[in-house]
Amino acid sequence: RGRGCRRSSRAAAAAAAAMFADSAGPAADVQSVWRSARSAGCKAKSCQTGTISTADVAVQSHISRDAGVQTDQSKDDVQDFQQEVEVDYSSLLSFLQRVENVVIKELNKNWKSRAFDGFEVSWTDQNETVLCLHTLSYPEAQDQKLQVTSVSWNATGSVVACSYGRLDDGDWSTESSYVCTWNLDRRGLNPQRPDLVVDVPSSVMCLAFHPSQPSLIAGGLFSGELVVWDTSRAEDPVVWRTGMTDDTHTDPVYQVNWLPDAQRRNHCQLLSVSTDGKILVWREERDGRLVLGEGFAIVAQQIPRSAQLKKFAWREAAVGVTSLSFSPFDPRVFVVGVEGGCSLKCSTATQTPALQHTGTSVPLMAPAELVFAPHGGPVYSVSCSPFHRQNLFLSCGTDGRVHVHSMLQTQPLVSLQLSKKYLFCVRWSPVRPLVFAAASGEGNCNNCFWFAGDVHLLDFERSWQKPAVSIKQSAAGSPVYCLEFNTKQTQLLAAGDAAGTIKVWQLSSDFTEQGPREMNHLEQLASETT
């Protein structure tokens, strides 16, 4: 039993030694029972998504290039696209060779084609008649027997302003007058109540809205001053004024225009024209004053003589300027109409100083370059055509005639006797190159002094002699002193008369849509010589 014990103890010791010694036994691998049981039940049969083989073929990255930058009133050049595009010239060549014949055949067919002659499509509702849309007036001004001296549409075409004053007063007048505005797009427009009435201490003779800021309006007064009002300010609409300085006109201002400022963009200068012979350009100063920038003066001696006008004796006198119009194509060229009856072509780039006009802060220049054949009476209105490059312009005066001049020759291209009455205002249509409107009234005809004022619309496409439409402004017979087309809503025409009313006329469609060949007719008209 001892031996057994020793053996067992030795075995126990060996077992103990085995138990307590470091041994690295193989890792025991135990099969997972539950997983194999589970996967035994299911087997991958088929996979719906096939293996996706990916390979980079092309990368769609974004190539951007500035085609054009639209910033305020500046013209940025578009980058030259020809250098930046990768062109496959051989395929381009084969393409061009393929299409060349087809395109040339079509081009040839086109200029010989008579298929579309006389084919016209009307996209807008045709309006056959001329309607009076609104009759606006300010009763207080009418009670004072004031007349409408000038109308103007604002930059957006929705507000019409008029100035009340007197045109038939010869004396110095200290009557106060009004500037009234109506917003035609407002609902609840009351024709007898203007949206804004500005009291002006002196008679306002002319008005002009700013070409881009819809609330600024400039007016020229009988006293020779210029005032700029801001219609958005309720308390004191006066923004700038010239005041009475040595520079201001000594005679009534008959026309005021806004000019784009060459030096400072987005700013405009004011130009005023008066019968004292001076044409002055004003710029705005900070304290609300208008300061003279440059000026021109028309003196009789400095008007270039022309052989046909020898019979008019020009003395050394200032020549009263009644109207002015700038050429839309060349900002330095403008046409003035003078009391002596002729129109002058002038340039702002003149270098000769004007005689006999000293005492102004800025020396005045003599701008006259060319004299045109005269009317039988003072010229009341000139207007340059917005369509023709060689600058056709119209002039009208108290002889009842309208002259269509080209700036290249002194004799008029067309001289129309529109009526026996005075013509106060003439304007080209802003949409149709062959249409213009003239306002007439007054006149000493058959012992009747007052004739019904008319607005005549002439269409050269229809007739060269007779007006296409003559609109009777008022049955009471007051002359029409001023008219303006609305450049934004081209079917509207505003006309103001001596009874103190402004009528807004809606023109029929033939006056608002340009015909297909009108520019050609205009060119033909201009190139004919009398």
């Binding site: 054009g68 030259d80 696209f81 062109v87 496959d88 393409f95 061009l96 297909p516």
Partner: protein, 70 residues
């Protein structure tokens, strides 16, 4: 449409290219909608003042503007 060559000034060219590219695509889809076997060969737009002609292709298009008032 990216302009490659042009005889007009840059701004006009870019405008014509962009606008006419869209119009050509629309015209093409219109024709093919009506008859899937058909495809456009030439596009002409006549307006009051001129006529625009487009000769389209898979990769290129030629645009010609012709004045029609004589």
């Amino acid at each position: 449409g990216t302009p490659i060559r042009s005889t007009m000034d840059n701004t006009t060219t870019v405008r014509y290219a962009a606008l006419l590219h869209q119009l050509t695509r629309h015209a093409r889809s219109t024709v093919r909608d009506i008859d899937p076997q058909n495809d456009i060969t030439f596009l002409r737009i006549r307006s009051k003042k001129d006529e625009i002609m487009v000769a389209p292709d898979k990769d290129h298009a030629l645009i010609v503007v012709q004045n029609t008032s004589d």
